[in-house]
Symmetry: C2
Subunit: 448 residues, 2 copies
Amino acid sequence: MKEYIQANRDRFLDELFSLLRIPSVSSLGQHRPDMQRCAERLAELLREAGADSAEIFPTAGHPVVFAQKILGPQYGTVLVYGHYDVQPADPLELWHSDPFEPQIRDGAIYARGANDDKGQLFMHLKAFEYLVRTGSLRHNVKFIFEGEEEIGSPSLAAWAEQHKDMLKADIILVSDTTMISEQVPSINCGMRGLAYLEIKVTGPDKDLHSGHYGGAVANPINILCDMISSLIDKDGHITVKGFYDDVVELSAEDREKLARAPFDLGEYKKFLDIGDVKGEKGYTTLERTGIRPCLDVNGIWGGYTGEGAKTVIPSEAHAKISMRLVPDQDSGKIAGLFEKHIMSIAPDCVKVEVTRHHGGNGFLIPISSHAYQAASRAMEEVYGVEPVPSRGGGSIPILADLQKILGIDPLLMGFGLERDTIHSPDESYLLSQFFKGIEAIALFYRYY
Amino acid sequence: MKEYIQANRDRFLDELFSLLRIPSVSSLGQHRPDMQRCAERLAELLREAGADSAEIFPTAGHPVVFAQKILGPQYGTVLVYGHYDVQPADPLELWHSDPFEPQIRDGAIYARGANDDKGQLFMHLKAFEYLVRTGSLRHNVKFIFEGEEEIGSPSLAAWAEQHKDMLKADIILVSDTTMISEQVPSINCGMRGLAYLEIKVTGPDKDLHSGHYGGAVANPINILCDMISSLIDKDGHITVKGFYDDVVELSAEDREKLARAPFDLGEYKKFLDIGDVKGEKGYTTLERTGIRPCLDVNGIWGGYTGEGAKTVIPSEAHAKISMRLVPDQDSGKIAGLFEKHIMSIAPDCVKVEVTRHHGGNGFLIPISSHAYQAASRAMEEVYGVEPVPSRGGGSIPILADLQKILGIDPLLMGFGLERDTIHSPDESYLLSQFFKGIEAIALFYRYY
């Protein structure tokens, strides 16, 4: 298999780059034509890789690409999930090369989507191509690639419900996560859910001169800061009433198992260039991202943000706030509690509005399953060490929905690394991980 | 005089509009050529109005325009101060007409600078022109118009120190403030000082995926909100250590005098469209802006602020924060206390930097003075009622400096109104106030 990859290496990269060049940013309306273009290119690549058919299904949002190769009912069926949409590329000035013109530097591909998720989903196409062309495919394979993962997959659940029969499979195979390091491969056995909301605080109906009104009129930025600050107490607990009601507490034994994952706090702080970590009292760093919920302000803005100084009390202040959730917290319920809490702490001197962005539930994957064991064996063969089960802090909300709708478990074979800085400037993907990933995925089919 | 104004009305407006069309935004480097152009146009208008000479003095920053007409040493001398620079016009989308293409709507001029301060300083040119052309001038008149008031006048104090002799006068006459209402004229007898700083909080050295790191790594926006929230306590007191040390407490008698200024809280709230006011416990709204210091966030930004949602822990968060000061608070001392306080509350998990923008001290003007009395008589003649002495909340930091350098008091005859929304979109200036102001200023010379 290594020879096949080596012989086709340049073509693999050319094909991936053709996807990376399309700025398929799902959250920005202006990129709608790019979404369609990206879906079409993906369908083309699926057919070229060996799919019997590849279709583009329109949805209320961005299209879903579905492709399959059916050998017969006597074979097991793998459903590959991925997403071809990407996060916005800003702040653009912090990129060292054009986010939509992929560049190889120091053994890595630099581009928006290089890892998340174009780079990772593309490994599945190439592992599939290898199996087809070498006559070693022994499974039916189905692919769903959606264009709305980064905005919370608003259309896919309904689409999957509608096409339940077509999607019948034994496992959902996904590469959209990280592993601990190149030396310590890991398989994600749980992910957090997400609730994402936006707060708008309106004070006076116009911007005011801060000299004339300062001290007498509530400043919406100050009020917003007060409200945000009150959401987390000094022990790192979230103060939203009812927030922890459904949080599953892990047993001491389970916590001990997770603690076996290698983790070096010094290296972690050095990688991030931070003086100290910060989080919920009573939990380790890995627990804080793996098994505990959290709340972050993802964006804040209000008033004068240009060069120099402007003495203004702005009319409005805004913040985007998201919460990562753990089993059994329900995303919709948490969003409701958050709205209620914010309105309950909003003072009379301002008007406060809360709106919801996307959300989704977290989930757990059984380590004992046949699929997990096959993935473990495949990765061990490629990396030379047995992968560690880990709990990822991120969210792929749609997977919990697909699990429920289709009645099958997801399996997360992710090949990203922390250094890839997905969602950030200079997103990258190591070439070595890209090629090892193709190999490990092909081996998964052998052992599954 | 009314006839003179009526006969020349259109020319007055044409001339003013020629100033308003120049986007002399002092805080933005790109407008440097506009600053020079505006200074030149102003010098031209001063000569046309009757000045013996009008010169442009370069400074380290934007130029100072100085003009004078000297009748002889036997006459008293009035030094008119004003500024030709303006605040940035953004947010542009909230203007109903081009900020730099003045428009008359509903009896008011709409443009950036219509009031602050091009509209107000121009009244002085036209009152002066009237006195010169009708042979009724009985004072030496000097004009200083600077181009850096909106950025804290960094060059003018040194320039004034250098040209002390040239600037000798008996009074500094200024129109750069508001009066209570058209029905209730008022004269400002005190202004607040200003300290303006900027905070930058840096967490991780790159933007992070909030799923992978959320809960374990300090989010600079959350930290910034915590710090800002802690700056004002629940009673509206500023918590910066030593902040109130030099605040002059007014006597019960003085507070009672100030309370005589007509003020309708219901109207005030209605004008601003707010449900309630908010400020320091134990003080009225007028006291909160007139005799008490305050702290406001003038701008805040960090993370993703675009359309939709992005799950990011940003590397940085920023805020612009200003404090209005009262006698005898020293702007430099307060800026130092603020820096020290912020560094003392900055947690180890982030890096915090504080930088200073402009600042200046507040001042008081004696009501019993001859100049105040002359202004009062002039305004009473134009408005039909005796003006009320008031304490403005705004700051013209340079006036405290000029007072100290030249040894003469400022007199604030301001004709702006709250409705003019200076520093905001749709800044305007009522034509009636513009023409009444010219008349009142000309009468001031008669009674001074």
